[in-house]
């Protein structure tokens, strides 16, 4: 676990060019269009009390890719994005939940327990291409539905929020 944290910290250092995440103010503001705003009980912030991330910054985080079909699309697709495990590491979360909200203000609650290896990702590429709002982009919480039956439930489907743009962390 420590190794994991160390790794993640190293990642952040690499991303943000920081030696230590001790000072939030030290985090750089995003250069491009902000596609995700994280608020709530977080230690790392860059704009006001929030952590805002553009596409480049998200891409800098460790990426996870898997193939799966979904009930909202036709056929099997490849999704690439930041796994929830990696995200909560970055956010330094041990427990609690995430309140994910879409562009149309649709909000769902995702418990930290969902963040497991081989679990959901916040996808920013579908079939290697960026997703527009019309294609449920720019971010879409995708679970590997095909990998196990537990991911093909009403609850999981409701947590698979698309057109995601905000996350509030509640410890």
């Amino acid at each position: 676990m420590l190794t994991r944290i160390a790794q993640t910290s190293l990642s952040l250092v690499l991303i943000f060019g920081l030696i230590s995440p001790a000072s939030a103010d030290d985090l750089p503001a995003p250069q491009g269009e902000v596609i995700l705003t994280v608020s709530g009980d977080i230690s790392a912030t860059n704009v006001d009390e929030t952590l805002t991330l553009d596409r480049q910054m998200l891409s800098a985080l460790p990426a996870t890719t898997f193939e799966t079909s979904t009930i909202w699309t036709d056929g099997v697709h490849t999704f690439t994005g930041v796994s929830l495990v990696d995200l909560i590491d970055v956010l330094g979360m041990e427990n609690g939940r995430l309140l994910a909200t879409a562009i149309n203000d649709y909000t769902v609650e995702i418990p930290v327990t969902d963040a497991v290896e081989g679990g959901p990702i916040i996808a920013y590429l579908m079939d290697g291409a960026e997703m527009s709002v019309r294609d449920k982009g720019p971010l879409w919480v995708i679970y590997p539905y095909d990998s196990e039956a537990d991911y093909r439930t009403e609850v999981i489907y409701s947590r698979s929020i698309w057109q995601l743009d905000r996350v509030e962390v509640i410890q």
């Binding site: 699309t73 149309n104 449920k136 039956a149």
Partner: protein, 834 residues
């Protein structure tokens, strides 16, 4: 019942299995259905489609609100449009909306919506200025499409509601079916439990029964008095019960598994046993098995061979055919039987010895007696004083009585030895009774008793029976009645009491004599029973007469009995089955004319007993025949070779060679007498023996004691009648002797007395009166004695004939002789006077 059980059980089992399979199949099918339903429910493929549809309207409203804003914010407008666009795209593409898309009206609405988006997107994607310029157009487009958006939402709701309903119904139906299947299965299981329970009970019961049966069998086996050995088809012993252990001296554990032949079969029977086993194995041939009780020999452990009785039965078992042998040691029984047989044989032997002894003794007594009687007969031919003549008469009477007693004893011996055979010959019943009545007439007259006989009902003259036996019986019964009745009446009634098919002779002899006590009447037919009356002394008797009569009647297949009242008389009755016979042809030439002696013949007399030989010789010589003697069969045969004899008299039992063998030898040889007349001389020839004698080649049979009459009759047959009488009327030399001895004066006096004596006799005999036979014989005997003194041989001979005829009650013969006497006496008187 027991046979049906397994079939029923298996049927039940099949049925239960089938029902169970059907139920399990149904349940499996339904479970599959249910699990599919559950999977469908569980995987929630529908997402929240209704919410998504409603959201379409919401997002469309948010988009239209952006259009209505003053001023319009292009970025916000585009964002709201994109969100709406994304929603519609999802509905168009997502698998969860497949159902909705298949609904025609929803599909129509969706197509309208897509057309709107396609048109609006060109406006939205244009630069801000253009966009703002085209707001009114966008507004108009969205106002046009608004009802379609609402309609899509409604139709979607309808479709999903229907789908949900049908899904619920499907689930409910499946659940109901499942419930029914489960109930059925439970039912089947319950039935199966019941069935198994019953089966279990049955099996338990059968096990108990088997156990009981087995216990019972074990008890039976162990307590059986018979040895029981069970073996398989190879003869290997499976069981050996305690009784078998005892019988064979073996212990069960030692013999189990051994071949039965090696254990109990004696060595000399082993090959036969092995062959039998082989036969049975190869061809299923069973010679002892199932054939009931068989007696065989068996081997004891110590090597002793003993007899056993055994029965073997086979039975089919799961392990193949088995054989159960029941054995019994019958050594004791066999020994007992042997002892019994020995005892019986001894008894029979001793009985036979007794009979033989009696028979032999009787015979041995009879032979010398014959000699005595014959010699007495010859003695009569000599000159006797009156006193001597009287004594000779007594001797003859005693001798005949003794002879009759011996004959009685012989008859009884024969009957008891089963040798008393009867003849079946034509018998004239009327003649038989008439003869007996005539014979007994004088005695009856002496006792002043009337003696009569008659047929009751139609007569039945000729029947098939045994003349001699019948005569003997009737003579005895009638003789007794006459003997015991004084001044009374004896009535003989003869009757045919049978049917035309089975005639039956019924004879009743009623007398008015002293009668018998009931006790005596019961015993009267037993041996040696004599009446205890005052007349006994007079009548004498061995007490065998009635017992012999009874034996004869039984031998003839009849019954005899007596009804008697003491002091009033007795009625003896005889009932005999007979059959009607034809009257035999009259033998005209059979009349014996003894007063006309035949030609002198050459006779060979073969007889071992010297006295008998002498008697016969004397008789023959007195008839002027020439006699050659031989003392045994061999001598006889030798003599007969060279000389031609007119007659051979052949005794039967002789030493060296008996009469039968001698006869056969003479007939078989080529001697002079090959065709001569051979006549058997026998004392006790039975009918079948007589047949054998004839088969041996004999021409006739003469019964001993030899009587002059019988001999004469025979010689007449063989020699023929000679017209000229050779016997002189007067034996001159004898007459001369008498004349000389007496002196002339006495001779003449006696001669005249003799003449008047004969005349008186003739007168007496010719008188028309009923005469007693005894009187006739005595009288003629007396006159004959006088004739002998004067050498009047012919006269004497004729008188002797009358005497003999009277003795046997032959009325006809007496009459004939009486006529013959007329001429002879005339001639004799004439010659005597010279």
């Amino acid at each position: 019942m027991l046979n049906n059980l397994p079939a029923r059980k298996s049927n039940g089992r099949k049925l239960a299995m089938l029902a169970g399979l059907v139920a399990v199949g149904a349940i499996a099918l339904l479970t599959d259905n249910v699990s599919r339903e559950i999977r469908l429910l569980g995987s929630a493929r529908s997402d929240n489609v209704q919410w998504a549809l409603v959201q379409t309207q919401v997002e469309f409203l948010e988009f239209t609100q952006q259009i209505d804003l003053e001023p319009v914010n292009p970025a916000e407008l585009r964002l709201e449009f994109d969100v709406f666009y994304s929603r519609v795209a999802t509905i168009r593409e997502a698998t969860v909306f497949e159902e909705l898309r298949s609904d025609p009206s929803s599909s129509l609405h969706l197509d309208g919506l897509v057309a709107f988006l396609d048109e609006a997107v060109t406006i939205i994607d244009s630069p801000d200025d253009d966009l703002l310029g085209q707001i009114p157009q966008l507004l108009r487009l969205s106002e046009d499409i608004a009802p379609t958006v609402r309609a899509l939402g409604n139709s979607g709701l309808d479709a999903f509601a229907q789908s949900a309903d049908s899904q619920r119904e499907a689930v409910a139906r499946t659940m109901t079916q499942l419930a029914i299947a489960i109930v059925t299965l439970i039912g089947v299981l319950l039935m199966a439990i019941l069935f198994l329970n019953r089966l279990n009970a049955q099996i338990t019961r059968r096990e108990q029964e088997n156990h009981q049966t087995s216990t019972r069998m074990t008890t039976v086996m162990s307590t059986s008095l018979d040895g029981v050995i069970v073996c398989d088809s190879n003869g290997l012993i499976l069981e050996f019960n305690p009784a078998a252990e005892h019988i064979f001296g073996r212990v069960e554990k030692d013999v189990l598994g051994q071949e039965i032949g090696s254990v109990i079969v004696p060595d000399h029977l082993r090959d036969a046993h092995d062959a039998g086993m082989e036969r049975m194995r190869n061809r299923g041939e069973k010679r002892v098995v199932g054939k009931g009780r068989v007696q065989l020999e068996a081997k004891h452990h110590d090597g002793r061979i003993f007899p056993v009785e055994l029965a073997i039965q086979s039975a089919a078992t799961d392990e193949g055919e088995i054989f159960i042998a029941f054995l019994r040691d019958i050594s004791k029984r066999v020994a007992d039987e042997a002892e019994l047989v020995e005892a019986r044989d001894k008894a029979l032997a001793s009985e036979k010895l007794k009979t033989d002894f009696l028979s032999t003794m009787s015979h041995e007594i009879r032979t010398p007696l014959n000699g005595l009687l014959g010699n007495m007969n010859l003695l009569r031919d000599t000159e006797l004083s009156q006193q001597q003549d009287r004594y000779l008469g007594y001797m003859e009477t005693s001798g005949r009585l003794l002879m009759s007693h011996i004959s009685d004893v012989l008859d009884i011996t024969r009957y008891d030895a089963g040798k008393l055979n009867t003849r079946s010959e034509p018998v004239n019943i009327s003649a038989l009774f008439q003869d007996i009545i005539d014979n007994q007439g004088s005695t009856a007259a002496k006792n002043e008793t009337s003696l009569t006989w008659d047929w009751h009902g139609p007569s039945m003259d000729w029947v098939l029976s045994d003349h001699d036996r019948l005569q003997h019986v009737m003579m005895n019964l009638i003789g007794n009645a006459v003997k015991f009745t004084r001044r009374g009446k004896v009535t003989v009634i003869v009757e045919n009491t049978g049917t035309s098919d089975a005639p039956e002779l019924f004879v009743k002899i009623q007398d008015t004599g002293p009668g018998m006590s009931e006790d005596l009447a019961k015993r009267v037919f037993d041996d040696f029973v004599t009446g205890n009356t005052a007349y006994d002394r007079d009548v004498g008797g061995t007490g065998l007469g009635l017992s012999i009569a009874k034996r004869f009647v039984h031998a003839l297949g009849g019954e005899i009995g007596v009804d008697s009242i003491l002091g009033q008389g007795s009625t003896f009755w005889v009932r005999l089955p007979v059959s009607i016979a034809d009257a035999p042809e009259e033998d005209n030439g059979d009349d014996v004319a003894p007063h006309q002696p035949g030609q002198s013949q050459l006779v060979l007399l073969v007889e071992d007993n010297e006295i008998n030989r002498i008697v016969a010789r004397e008789m023959l010589q007195s008839e002027r025949h020439t006699v050659v003697e031989a003392s045994d069969g061999r001598q006889g045969v030798d003599t007969a070779k060279t000389t031609r004899f007119d007659l051979i008299l052949m005794d039967i039992s002789m030493p060296i060679m008996d009469g039968r063998a001698a006869t056969r030898a003479i007939r078989a040889g080529n001697g002079a007498c090959k065709d001569a007349v051979i006549v058997a001389l026998t004392a006790n020839a039975m009918p079948e023996e007589q047949k054998e004698f004839l088969a041996d080649g004999m021409n006739d049979i003469l019964t001993k004691p030899l009587s002059r009459d019988a001999l004469r009759a025979l010689l007449k047959k063989t020699g023929g009648v000679r017209e000229n009488c050779e016997i002189p009327m007067i034996n001159k030399s004898h007459n001369a002797e008498t004349r000389e001895a007496l002196g002339e004066e006495t001779y003449v006096r006696l001669r005249s007395r003799f003449v008047s004596e004969v005349d008186e006799f003739r007168e007496w005999l010719g008188a028309d009166e009923v005469r007693d036979y005894l009187e006739i014989s005595t009288y003629s005997h007396k006159v004959a004695g006088s004739a002998a003194v004067f050498g009047a041989d012919q006269l004497r001979g004729t008188l002797k004939e009358i005497e003999a005829a009277a003795k046997v009650g032959d009325v006809k013969a007496i009459k004939d002789q009486e006529w013959a006497l007329v001429d002879i006496w005339q001639e004799t008187k004439l010659q005597l006077s010279n």
